[in-house]
C-alpha cells in the first residue's frame, strides 16, 4: 500500500486526489491539507440547497460535491485530511460499514492520545473527546473497485466561516449553528492551548496507520496524476454534477453524533411558521420560532419558546405544553394552532 504524504494541495485537489486514486484502483493512505479553503457537499446533497453560494462566490471559496456520504462542510489548511483507499476485496475491508469506521478510527484516536487528547469513537462517524466534543468527523464511499474512508484532524477550526458557508432558511439561524458548533466541536488548539507542529502530527498519524496496514511505501504525486486531477476537477465542479437533483432535503445540520440543529417551516392558515431547534438526544436544547403569523399578546413568543426548551420531542408532551401556555397566558393566534407549531418543528405523529 502506498503513502502519499503530501503537504498542501490547491483546495479542491486535496479532495479530488482520493477520487482519482480510487478510480485508478490504487490502494493508499493520503495525508494532505487544502492550501486554500473550500466547501464540500455530500453526494446526496444539492449544493444550491445546502451551501450559501453567494457567500462562497464573494469569499472565493470553491464548492465541490464529493462521491462520499455525509453533509456539507468547510475545509481549510487547519485540517489534516487522512484518506484511506483500499480495494473492496482487501481482507481489511468489511461490508459491515460501521466496522470500517471503528477500525480505521483507531489510528486517529491513538494519534490524538499521543498528543495528550483522550478520544473515543462514537458510532456512526465521529471521534469525540472525553467531554463529548467532536474533534474528527468521517465519511466514506465506494468508488470504482475501492472503498474510501476520509476524515480530518482538526488543528483549529474557523467556526465563523463554516456557519457562513451553510445555507440557512433565515439569517438568524446562522447564529444558532455557530453557537452549537462552538459548544459541540473542539480542536487541538482548544484542547492543548496551541497547535503541535504539523510535521509531528503527520508523522505520528502515519506511524499509527502503519500499525494497521503494515509498512507503507512512500510515493510522490506525478505530473500525470496532477493532469488527471485537473480533468476530474472539471467534472466535480460542473453545474450538472454540483446541482444534480437529489432526493435529500434541507432539514438541518448535524453538529456531532446526537446533536443537530433542525429547521422546519410550515404554512398554517394564519401565516408561515419557521422553527430552528438544537436537539440533543431528542431533547430540545434551544428553540427559535419566527414567521409572519399573528400572536397576542405580541411579546409572548419568547415565553412559548422557554416553555418548549428542555422538553423531549414527544408529540403529546409538546402539544400539552403549548396548550398549557396558551391557557395560562391567554394567547390568541388566529389561524395558528398547536398542531401548526408541531408541524414546523417536525415533530412526527
Amino acid at each position: 500500500m502506498y503513502l502519499f504524504n503530501l503537504d498542501k494541495l490547491p483546495g479542491q485537489q486535496s479532495m479530488l486526489f482520493f477520487h482519482l486514486l480510487a478510480r485508478m484502483g490504487i490502494e493508499a493512505l493520503v495525508i494532505v491539507s487544502p492550501k486554500t479553503p473550500l466547501a464540500s457537499v455530500g453526494y446526496f446533497q444539492n449544493a444550491k440547497e445546502e451551501v450559501d453560494l453567494q457567500f462562497c462566490k464573494k469569499a472565493n471559496i470553491p464548492v465541490m460535491r464529493r462521491e462520499l456520504g455525509g453533509g456539507a462542510t468547510y475545509l481549510d489548511e487547519n485540517q489534516i485530511f487522512h484518506q484511506v483507499i483500499i480495494k473492496r476485496d482487501n481482507p481489511i475491508f468489511s461490508r459491515k460499514i460501521s466496522e470500517n469506521y471503528k477500525r480505521f478510527s483507531l489510528p486517529i484516536i491513538e494519534t490524538y492520545r499521543e498528543f495528550g487528547i483522550e478520544t473515543n469513537f462514537r458510532s456512526v462517524n465521529d471521534i469525540l473527546t472525553k467531554e463529548g466534543r467532536k474533534i474528527d468527523g468521517e465519511g466514506s464511499g465506494d468508488i470504482g473497485d475501492c472503498f474510501v474512508w476520509v476524515g480530518g484532524i482538526l488543528l483549529d477550526f474557523n467556526y465563523k466561516a463554516m456557519s457562513k458557508v451553510l445555507k440557512v432558511p433565515e439569517e438568524k439561524f446562522r447564529d444558532k449553528i455557530y453557537k452549537s458548533m462552538k459548544e459541540n466541536l473542539t480542536t487541538m488548539k482548544e484542547e492543548l492551548g496551541e497547535v503541535p507542529p504539523r510535521e509531528e502530527i503527520k508523522s505520528v498519524l502515519i506511524e499509527k496507520f502503519e500499525k494497521l496496514f503494515g509498512k507503507l511505501e512512500p510515493v510522490e504525486l506525478t505530473p500525470r496524476m496532477i493532469k488527471l486531477m485537473e480533468n476530474l476537477e472539471k467534472e466535480f465542479t460542473s453545474p450538472v454534477f454540483l446541482f444534480k437533483k437529489t432526493p435529500k432535503m434541507l432539514t438541518g445540520v448535524k453538529i456531532r453524533e446526537g446533536v443537530e440543529v433542525i429547521y422546519g417551516m410550515h404554512k398554517a392558515k394564519g401565516g408561515l411558521i419557521r422553527a430552528a431547534q438544537e436537539v440533543e438526544k431528542e431533547r430540545i436544547n434551544e428553540i427559535d420560532l419566527s414567521g409572519d403569523f399573528t400572536l397576542y399578546p405580541k411579546d409572548c413568543l419568547e415565553g412559548l419558546e422557554s416553555n418548549l426548551k428542555g422538553k423531549i420531542r414527544k408529540r403529546s408532551l409538546l402539544d400539552s405544553k403549548i396548550e398549557e401556555f396558551y391557557d395560562k397566558e391567554k394567547v390568541q393566534s388566529p389561524g395558528v394552532a398547536s398542531e401548526d407549531f408541531l408541524k414546523a418543528m417536525k415533530v412526527e405523529k
Binding site: 446526496f44 459491515k96 460501521s98 466514506s140 432526493p247
Partner: protein, 142 residues
Amino acid sequence: MSKIEDYDMPDELYYHKEHMWAKVEGDKVRVGLNDFSQKLAGEISYIEIPEEGDEVKQDDAVGSYETGKWLGKLYTPVSGEIVSTNEDVEDDPTLMNKDPYGEGWLFEVKMSDPTELDNLMKGEKAIEWLKGEIAKHPKEEK
C-alpha cells in the same frame, strides 16, 4: 427460502457478486439488494436508481445509496433497458431494509442478452458464495 445464518436467501433468485439479486420474469429481470448486504450496511437513508429508458450494462454501477455516512453503489446484474423503477423505495429507502426481496425492489431491466444469467449464481453455488462472504465480513470485529 434458504436461511444462511441470519440472512434470507430465496432459492428462486439469481445473485450477483455485488450482492444484488435478480428475479427473472420472462425477458424482464427485477433487481434488488440482498438481505446480507442491507443488514450489514444498516438503515438506508437515501437512494438513487437509474431512470426508465436507461440502457445499462451487466456489472455496471447504475445507482447509489447512503447509510451511516457511507455511499454505496448499486450494480445491474444484467444488460438491457430499464423498463420500470420502484418509486416507493425512492420515497422510503428503508423498504430495502424492511423487505429487501419484496417492497424493497429497485428496478426492472428488459434483458438484451439472457445468456448473461449464466454469469450469476443460483442455488447451491449462491449459498456457498454467501457463506464465504459471511466468513469474510464478520458481524463484529474478532
